[in-house]
């Protein structure tokens, strides 16, 4: 069963690689359609990745622009040694890292005035969800909010590995390429990231200590 899955993945990867190379060739030729295709394919996953890593729509937008600027300018140097997806995600991870470093160095908290950006964090900013009822919707939303909050609290190194694995759905090998670390390091980071998340959620779900109002009698 596992072998069959691996074979299917290999076939899929081969098709994607040939598509990637064709897309890169078209980009080098300056085709307008190629630029559009690249944006359509990657703007959503790259934005999602940046948002999960930075937890700030404004910063995520900045990072996405930087990523695509670098992609457009360096597409001539892309040799196809890795897939286009891992190459772009690697740039996104590096840019997000730079952004986070810049943030801690220069800015602790700024008040945003962009209403549209704020909306993007709300429910209206997410894609359609197939929740069957308002109750399920509310329950799901609460669970999602808890997971999102827990994600922001764990170590960024582990967060990147977990996000790439469980949200962006990359394989371990692709994550190793994106993060430029060994496969063993990827396994370790995913394991520790998930454990950290589990721990965070466990802490959150623990019942809070209740105040005891002891009645006092007059002496």
């Amino acid at each position: 069963m596992a072998t069959a899955i691996l074979d299917l993945n290999a076939q899929k990867t081969a098709v994607t690689d040939s598509e990637d190379l064709a897309l890169v060739r078209s980009l080098r030729e300056g085709s307008e359609r190629a630029y559009e295709t690249l944006l359509l394919r990657f703007q959503q996953p790259v934005y999602n990745l940046a948002l999960r890593l930075l937890n700030d729509p404004s910063d995520a937008s900045d990072v996405v622009q930087e990523v695509f600027l670098k992609v457009f300018r360096n597409v001539g140097h892309f040799r196809g040694q890795s897939s286009l997806k891992t190459w772009i995600f690697r740039i996104a991870i590096n840019e997000a890292h730079n952004q986070r470093r810049w943030f801690f160095r220069h800015r602790h908290r700024e008040v945003g005035i962009d209403d549209e950006q704020e909306d993007a964090r709300g429910r209206a900013g997410t894609l359609a969800d197939a929740s069957p009822s308002p109750f399920d919707y509310a329950l799901d939303r609460e669970k999602q909010a808890m997971i999102e909050a827990a994600l922001t609290r764990i170590n960024p190194t582990f967060r990147a590995a977990v996000v790439l694995r469980d949200i962006t759905d990359l394989s371990y090998e692709e994550i190793a390429e994106v993060l430029q670390v060994s496969l063993g390091t990827v396994k370790s980071r995913i394991l520790r990231g998930r454990e950290a998340l589990r721990h965070e959620l466990e802490m959150k779900l623990q019942p809070q200590p209740v105040m005891n109002w002891l009645p006092k009698t007059a002496e």
Binding site: E32, N48, V64, F68, R73, K187
Partner: protein, 226 residues
């Protein structure tokens, strides 16, 4: 298989990266150990929760910005694909840069030049130089004493040069012989000449002061140097 070993491999087990005998051993352990099974269930729920997070929609503004960026970069890429195109693009950029640099300067520069010419034209008639007064007493520097009128004298040596000391009142007060010789008879004659000659005293910043006059006697003719 110990619980710690199983817990360490649960993450990979969940991702179907544990295969063969090891997977079978983990499965057997999970069937027997309630705690490890609960741990796996929690991890599985967590992973499903992460996978179930709704993908964030790209803001409309970002989409537009990306399209503009793509358009700009594509134009730039097409403009610099070959060397002649790159040179042409470089020339166009330089022209644009120069235009952008000069445009803000053009109006102030033209305005400044026009104002300068207008002011110069208006001021030229008032800039005419006044004729200087010929007999004006120069101030601000030293003027030497001069001999105005010399009294008749009978000194008739071949060449005698005498330096006369003229005070601030224009009177010769003393003399010294610079060249030649003066006999005792000539000394009296020289004293008379000093007494009856008229001098203009030397001045220092317009004020009369002591000075010297060189008088050269050459037979009958005499030359005054001042």
């Amino acid at each position: 298989m110990s619980c710690q070993t199983v817990l360490n491999s649960l993450s990979e087990f969940l991702d179907h990266r544990v295969a063969g005998e090891e997977r079978a051993r983990v499965t057997v352990h999970l069937a027997e150990c309630r705690e490890c099974a609960a741990h796996l269930r929690e991890l599985s729920e967590l992973r499903n929760g992460l996978k179930g997070l709704p993908p964030a929609a790209v803001p409309a503004r970002l989409r537009t910005q990306l399209q503009v960026l793509a358009s700009h970069e594509r134009a730039h890429w097409n403009a610099t694909k070959t060397l002649p195109l790159a040179l042409r693009a470089w020339a166009a950029n330089m022209k644009l840069a120069v235009d952008n640099l000069m445009r803000p300067l053009a109006v102030p520069l033209a305005g400044g030049l026009a104002s300068a010419l207008l002011l110069f034209g208006l001021l030229v008639p008032t800039l005419g130089f006044q004729p200087s007064v010929l007999n004006d007493v120069p101030t601000g520097f030293y003027t030497a004493a001069t001999l105005v009128e010399v009294a008749p004298t009978s000194i008739n040596n071949d060449e005698t040069v005498v330096e006369l000391y003229v005070d601030a009142k224009g009177q010769a007060t003393d003399y010294s012989v610079q060249r030649g010789s003066v006999s005792p008879a000539m000394q009296a004659d020289l004293t008379k000449m000093m007494f009856f000659s008229r001098f203009t005293p030397a001045t220092w910043f317009g004020q009369p002061t002591n000075g010297k006059v060189l008088v050269s006697f050459r037979r009958i003719n005499y030359v005054v140097r001042g």
